[in-house]
């Protein structure tokens, strides 16, 4: 079934672009609210985006979209006015609305109905809207006078009375705090425990209701009352309490007159920073193009360019660079033949100028292809939040270096692998909140996603402060799954053991969850990253956390490579996988189980003669030299030595595909055109190393 909108294709495109921006703004806003509390400014932003989308979808004639945004607006309005508290359930519902709206947006983009209906989401919205018991009423608190315990405070024991008196006499402040635990919180006991820990840090808890022991045994009610003696100020205590999630401060007041600030009583709404939002300046209901445009980002001096155009430009510049090199070679010959000739000099200076401009052009076009990683990162906070919720984890998700730029082709390809690493960190890296508290960590785990430049590469790092990878467990698991023999596992050093997680069929989780998959994944992540000529490194410390460091080239089109020669043909080896080069006498080659190896710094490195691997024919009368050149390459911590005839040098090469006619060839990833116009072959190191490894494994299997 198709859609027919009374709008031009151009208008629909504008609508879609803007709807995307509004959906993103709402998502970011809701996540921010959940994180930082009900900031009126953020609320206003979300409200405005929903409002605009309502107007424009109504104009377009997508009734369901208008219907959902309208109800969202109602809920947002209640939030804004403080008639509704932002609980996890409210956050969930609002985010679910965005999913539905996204589906509707797709309907408009494709002209195909998605089959998504509004009934379920409208019911959820209505449930919230209807249950919108004013937050203030949730916890009515009579103002308390200082210097006396509130009347609703349970009686103190003699010992506790003594403590209280002692604290007062020593000039400490004594505070009375009542926290309301969010009924919808999946783990109110954890919140209570967190609050107790936080209070214990700033002072001495004279008594709490329920007690710490009761909290640990999960015997809690709706609220937590604390009597605290502290040297800190009321503001400080309030700030600390406010940092405990899903717990509203119902009351916080000084119960001692000694050097105490004036008593303050707060209601839950105020504690949640619910402030009456400023009046909306837009007139409701009428949304014209102008208003829609205003919602978008600041006017920027940019144009949208088709990606194909950029790709073509890039190819043309590549050809220009090659022709430039040819001209330079002609010039060199001319200069030798006709030294001092005036015309040759003119040509020389013109060529120098062309060279400079070509380089500038290349840089500029490359820059035009760069996008900030923000384009990729912005879909992650939501994913992390949902994953954390499903896994009952608490995650503080920090994103750094969003402005770092990367070639758009790399951004397109790296999304899935990064998503997987993040899920892995949330699901497997970070421990359950109670486990964390037990080991002295904050209940909330931290996952940091960071992008930055390092030389000619970009690094994207995912690190968590979770349990870390235990080499012993990995060994045991790998042996159990038959990925490695017990003997080999024992011999393997710890820093190599972590790389076993990349093996197909490996999963570090004790239990299989429906989030990070069933052991499929990490090997795919690794493959995808290698396909991009990137690499990934694991740094992990038991109990402290794990870091995955993904190293990527700035662009896919150009790689730095080491050029070598074998039987008259030039081969390029991506420099990212080269460990070192060496010249070695033939006499040092040893044979282990039928394979040639070399021992270097005590490590046995298998050799791969490219002549043999590629079945190349030597010219007649070829004599094996006394010494040979070896390029040690490494993939996933596995090293092999490639035996080549000659080392030529290093350089940037533009990767060209071999084309459909030749197809995929194991060990080869493409071709490139060298300065002299000849074509060189680019090696696929990961498949060469894989083949050698497979061969070794086969021989081992035969032997045992």
């Amino acid at each position: 079934m198709g859609f027919d909108f009374d709008m031009s294709a151009e208008d629909i495109k504008v609508f879609l672009d803007e709807a995307e921006e509004q959906l993103q703004a709402m998502e970011a806003g809701i996540l921010r609210l959940e994180k930082d509390g009900q900031n009126p400014e953020h609320l206003q932003e979300i409200f405005r985006a929903a409002h605009t989308l309502k107007g424009s979808s109504a104009t377009l004639g997508h009734k369901k979209m208008a219907e959902v945004t309208h109800s969202m607006e109602n809920v947002l309005d209640k939030l804004r006015k403080g008639k509704l508290a932002l609980t996890t359930a409210v956050g969930d519902t609002l985010l679910a609305c965005l999913d539905v709206l996204q589906a509707f947006k797709e309907e408009i983009a494709t002209g195909q109905e998605s089959g998504v209906t509004t009934a379920a989401i409208m019911a959820r919205l209505a449930a919230i809207d209807g249950n919108a018991a004013p937050a203030q009423e949730a916890a009515p608190v009579p103002p308390e006078a200082p210097a006396a315990l509130p009347s609703d405070a349970p009686p103190l024991s003699a010992e506790e009375e003594q403590k209280l008196t002692a604290a007062r006499q020593s000039g400490k402040n004594t505070f009375w705090a009542v926290l309301l635990l969010d009924k919808n919180s999946p783990m109110p006991a954890v919140r209570a425990f967190q609050a107790l820990l936080a209070m214990g840090d700033v002072g001495e808890i004279i008594r709490s209701w329920p007690t710490q022991q009761e909290v640990e045994e999960d015997r809690i009610g709706d609220d937590l009352k604390i009597l605290l003696a502290t040297g800190e100020s009321l503001d400080k205590v309030r700030a600390v309490l406010a940092s405990v999630p899903e717990a509203g401060i119902v009351a916080l007041s000084a119960v001692s007159a000694v050097s105490a600030p004036p008593a303050v009583s707060e209601d839950a709404a105020a504690a949640l920073q619910l402030v009456e939002a400023p009046v909306v300046s837009e007139s409701a209901g009428t949304v014209d193009k102008g208003a829609v445009a205003k919602v978008g980002k600041n006017e920027s001096r940019t144009v949208r360019v088709n990606v194909e155009v950029l790709d073509n430009l890039m190819n043309l510049v590549g050809e220009l660079v090659i022709e430039r090199t040819r001209l330079n070679q002609v010039l060199t010959r001319l200069e030798m033949d006709k030294e001092g000739d005036e015309v040759v000099q003119v040509m020389s200076s013109a060529l120098a100028q062309i060279s400079r401009m070509t380089s500038n052009l290349q840089d500029e076009i490359q820059r035009a292809r760069m996008l900030p990683v923000e384009n990729l990162f912005r879909k992650f906070p939501r994913m992390v939040r949902d994953t954390a919720q499903k896994a009952n984890k608490e995650i503080e998700f920090v994103v750094l270096g969003q402005e770092t730029e990367l070639d758009r082709s790399v951004i397109e390809e790296i999304g899935d692998p990064m998503m997987h690493l993040l899920r892995n960190a949330v699901d497997h890296g970070i421990e359950a909140p109670m486990d964390r508290l037990r080991t002295g960590k904050p209940a909330k785990g931290t996952v940091i996603l960071e992008a930055f430049h390092e030389e000619n590469h970009i690094i994207i790092s995912v690190r968590d402060d979770g349990r870390g990878m235990d080499p012993q467990k990995i060994r045991a698991s790998a042996v159990r799954k038959g990925l490695i023999s017990e003997e080999a596992a024992r011999r393997m050093p710890d820093h190599e053991v972590v790389n076993l997680v990349w093996a197909p069929g490996f999963s570090t989780a004790e239990k299989v969850t429906d989030i990070s998959g069933r052991g499929v994944g990490l090997d795919v992540v690794h493959k995808n990253i290698e396909k991009l000529n990137g690499s990934v490194e694991i740094m992990s410390e038991v109990g402290k956390g794990t870091e995955f460091r993904v190293k990527l080239p700035l662009t896919l089109a150009i790689i730095r490579s080491l050029q070598v020669e074998v039987v008259g043909t030039t081969y390029c080896i991506p420099l990212s996988s080269v460990v070192e080069t060496d010249r070695i006498p033939v006499s040092q080659i040893q044979t282990v189980r039928g394979r040639e190896v070399i021992v270097k710094r005590g490590e046995v490195i298998p050799l791969l003669r490219l002549v043999e691997a590629f079945e190349l024919d030597r010219p007649e009368g070829y004599e094996e030299p006394e010494e040979f050149f070896m390029v040690i390459v490494s993939v996933m911590g596995k090293q092999i030595g490639l035996v080549v005839d000659n080392l030529i040098g290093e350089g940037d090469v533009v990767i060209k595909p071999l084309g459909k006619f030749i197809g995929d060839i194991p060990g080869i990833s493409g071709a490139t055109i060298m300065g002299d116009g000849d074509v060189a072959i680019i090696l696929d190191i990961s498949s060469l190393v894989g083949a050698v490894q497979a061969e070794i494994n086969r021989r081992e299997a035969l032997r045992s």
């Binding site: 190819n315 590549g318 050809e319 090659i322 022709e323 043909t569 030039t570 691997a613 590629f614 079945e615 190349l616 060209k656 595909p657 071999l658 084309g659 459909k660 006619f661 030749i662 197809g663 060839i665 194991p666 060990g667 080869i668 071709a671 490139t672 055109i673 116009g677 000849d678 074509v679 060189a680 072959i681």
Partner: protein, 153 residues
């Protein structure tokens, strides 16, 4: 009569030589002819694939047409050319002994392929044109340059 001749469909052929035989290919498929230049051998490819070459900044595969058609192999001469065919999968260069001319051939002088006429497998041949007493074998380049299922190495 004159009118009929005008309506006659004319095929334009690029005529090239392999050994002593003349071959033709539809001019719409042959994109250009270039002198023989350096070809880089690509490992792990069939023998008839000479390798890849740089055609004005593009890397294109080059096929030894003699090997492909199971004709006896011979060394390159000054006349040796690469005829570049434009096919669905991209451009493919073909090494031929010489490129002779472009001929306009009336459809009526083209006959269906006959096993006896050529050593070339008839599945690669569209037909045979008789022009001024010469026989020109019309190659079906789409077939000739189609890669059979490659064995996994």
């Amino acid at each position: 009569m004159a009118q009929q001749e005008q309506r006659e469909i004319i095929t334009q052929l690029v005529v090239f030589q392999l050994g002593h035989e003349l071959y033709g290919a539809d001019i719409s498929v042959v994109r250009e002819v270039s002198p023989l230049q350096r070809v880089t051998r690509v490992p792990r490819t069939p023998k008839y694939i000479e390798g890849v070459t740089n055609l004005r900044g593009r890397v294109i595969p080059v096929v030894d047409l003699r090997r492909r058609l199971n004709l006896p192999v011979s060394a390159a001469t000054k006349a040796t050319r690469i005829a570049v065919a434009e096919l669905e999968g991209g451009q493919v260069g073909m090494v031929v002994d010489a490129v002779l001319e472009v001929l306009r051939v009336p459809q009526s002088s083209i006959e269906p392929p006959s096993q006896l006429l050529s050593k070339v497998d008839s599945e690669y041949v569209h037909g045979v044109a008789k022009v001024d007493g010469r026989l020109i074998i019309l190659l079906d380049l789409a077939r000739v340059l189609q890669r059979e299922e490659r064995k996994v190495v």
